[in-house]
């Protein structure tokens, strides 16, 4: 293997990517299928000069991330669906206090305790904020182990740049799957100057980390400030991968692991001369509007998800009623197959 290329699971790649990005605070609570992340952090975080805490619950973990971030450290936690549900309170406070943080959700089946099978059924929770109040996270959906590694670094940069919590949304397949990863030789990004961080008020006025605005009109004013920042993020940070979009008659829309299966289906159909393409959103929030905003009314879409139609709603909003949209989805551990996709596409062509 070439230099700096290693074989790792998606979970380990995320942990390694975080340390490479200068993450210096991690708190987490065990939950399957993401335990490799907390184990990696337990082993390597202190060696890297950072702080690692196994928290007493996901509630504590996310609030430790709040504290770590307020103190100025690049801070991260990781969990899976039920644990991320517990974290929603803290995520809302992090958003409301304009703190940068990275939250990894390696999704498992729900609702409730569900199961530990891969799924994509937390899309709504991730992209609609999840907790209380008018806020968003930036949500990144890696489609390979390499991308999990790379996007983890991106997530810290975006979090610092916009002072916003960023979620990495994967599933059990991505977390557990091993693939070669080209490690970054990029120097660890120097932490952005955080003149808002809590460090003790030596030589300056006190800093306050807060999300409480009681004075009349103050919260509305603050929320508008958040909205302005979200507008900028929408404008600048939409990311997607497009495949065969120029001549496609049917375009599959799928993210994360699901897009890999969609790609196999597309390659098979292309080899038979069928004009099929793929849009793979990489940012789920902001959801990429541009590739879906096309004038060709004959174009048809097939949205494929490991859920019963969550991203589907964003596709419908982006397409705005101009085109026919079909849906294929399974959840609770079911994964839409290549054959099922091909069958649907052939009916649409």
């Amino acid at each position: 293997m070439p230099k700096n290329k290693i074989l790792v699971s998606g979970n380990e790649a995320i942990a390694q990517g975080a340390l490479q990005a200068g993450c210096s605070f991690y708190a987490g609570y065990p939950i399957t299928p993401q335990n490799e992340i907390i184990a990696y952090m337990a082993k390597h975080m202190e060696q890297a000069g950072g702080a690692f805490i196994q928290a007493e619950s996901e509630l504590a973990a996310i609030n430790m991330v709040y504290g770590g971030s307020a103190a100025g450290a690049r801070s991260m936690t990781s969990s899976s669906s039920p644990g991320v549900s517990l974290m929603q309170e803290g995520i809302s406070y992090i958003a409301g206090s304009q703190l940068p943080a990275v939250i990894v959700n390696i999704m498992r089946g729900g609702p409730g305790l569900g199961n530990i099978a891969p799924t994509q059924s937390d899309y709504f929770q991730a992209t609609r904020g999840g907790g209380h109040g008018d806020y968003h996270l930036i949500v990144l959906a890696p489609g390979s182990v390499q991308e999990a590694y790379d996007l983890t670094q991106t997530s810290f940069e975006l979090a610092d740049k916009y002072r916003i919590p960023v979620m990495i949304l994967g599933d059990g397949i991505l977390g557990q799957m091993m693939e070669p990863v080209q490690l970054s030789s990029k120097k660890i990004a120097a932490n952005t100057i955080k003149n808002w961080a809590l460090t003790g008020c030596l030589g300056r006025k006190p800093n306050i980390t807060k999300s409480f605005y009681l004075r009349e009109g103050a919260l509305e004013e603050f929320n508008l400030k958040l909205q302005k920042s979200y507008e900028l993020i929408r404008k600048k940070e939409e990311r997607y991968e497009g495949l065969f979009l120029a001549d496609a008659k049917v375009i599959l829309v799928a993210y994360g692991t699901m897009a890999r299966i969609a790609k196999s289906a597309i390659m098979q159909l292309r080899s038979q001369g069928k004009k099929v393409g793929l849009i793979r959103p990489i940012t789920l929030w902001p959801f990429p509007q541009a590739p879906l905003n096309v004038k060709n009314k004959k174009l048809k879409y097939l949205v494929v998800e490991m859920s019963y139609g969550q991203m589907l709603e964003d596709v419908k909003l982006a397409v705005g009623g101009r085109n026919k949209i079909e849906f294929l989805g399974r959840s609770g551990g079911g994964v839409p197959s290549e054959e099922a996709m091909i069958g649907k596409i052939k009916k649409l062509l």
Binding site: A55, G67, A71, C201
Partner: protein
């Protein structure tokens, strides 16, 4: 002439929003005074609670953070781990520390986090209108225990300080009161001890402060001080617990 009583630099020169007779103003001042006397204002980070004292940072002149209700010790743990050289403390009420945040409290204490905790016990939820707290006394009437706290229905006043004292990671626990000038001076000494312990890296220190809430006790300010002296401290005895 020497000036022996003055506003410490750690306390802004502003009126507080607290009700007449409330203990928070006194407790804020004690904390500020101790921080000044120890010369640690510029490296102190305080965690304000959810409750009446949420805007404590409007009165304290040093770095502060809010924390979600009950989570102050999780937030404080992380800040202290990131900045071990800073002095980090939480200021929490009974609902915050001993009901919704019991888990965070016990585990931060059990990890022996090198933190100082100022625990204000006034036996009620003040900010939300005087509901029953984990520390409400048996027979005490609140808006959610209208016949008085009944042990069969509501359980007993929770002695979280005694519980925490059992943990090996906890180095210091003392219960103090604000019901008289003498007791207030003792309270200040205990708060100072809790900060000194942190400076000396001794681990988790907690000072429980019995504090009047005349508004939700349905008492006049003077009466509420007498109630602490005559009733409350029988359930919550003053002195060093560990």
């Amino acid at each position: 002439m020497e000036k022996i009583f003055f506003r410490p630099e750690s306390l802004y020169d502003v009126p507080t929003h607290y009700c007449p007779g409330c203990g928070h103003g006194i407790a804020h001042r004690l904390v500020a005074q101790v921080i000044n006397e120890l010369g640690i204002r510029e490296k102190t980070i305080g965690i304000a609670p959810v409750g009446c004292a949420v805007v404590a940072y409007d009165y304290w002149n040093f770095d502060c953070s809010e924390a979600p209700h009950g989570r102050a010790l999780a937030v404080a743990t992380a800040i202290k781990r990131v900045h071990p050289q800073n002095i980090v403390f939480t200021y929490q009420g009974d609902g915050d520390l001993a009901a919704i945040g019991t888990n965070e409290t016990i585990h931060a204490a059990n990890r022996g986090e090198n933190l100082s905790v100022i625990f204000i016990n006034n036996t009620v939820y003040g900010m939300t209108g005087g509901q029953m707290a984990p520390t409400t006394l048996l027979g005490q009437k609140t808006s959610t225990s209208i016949e008085g706290r009944i042990k069969e229905k509501h359980g007993y006043p929770l002695k979280i300080s005694e519980m925490l004292a059992m943990l090996p990671g906890v180095c210091y626990v003392e219960r103090v009161s604000l019901h008289s000038p003498q007791e207030t001076l003792k309270a200040k000494r205990a708060i100072k001890q809790a900060f000194e312990n942190q400076i000396n890296n001794l681990g988790f220190s907690l000072v429980e402060v019995l504090s009047p809430c005349p508004t939700y006790w349905g008492q006049a300010p003077k009466e509420s001080l007498d109630w602490i002296r005559d009733v409350m401290q029988k359930e919550f005895p003053l002195g060093r617990i560990k």
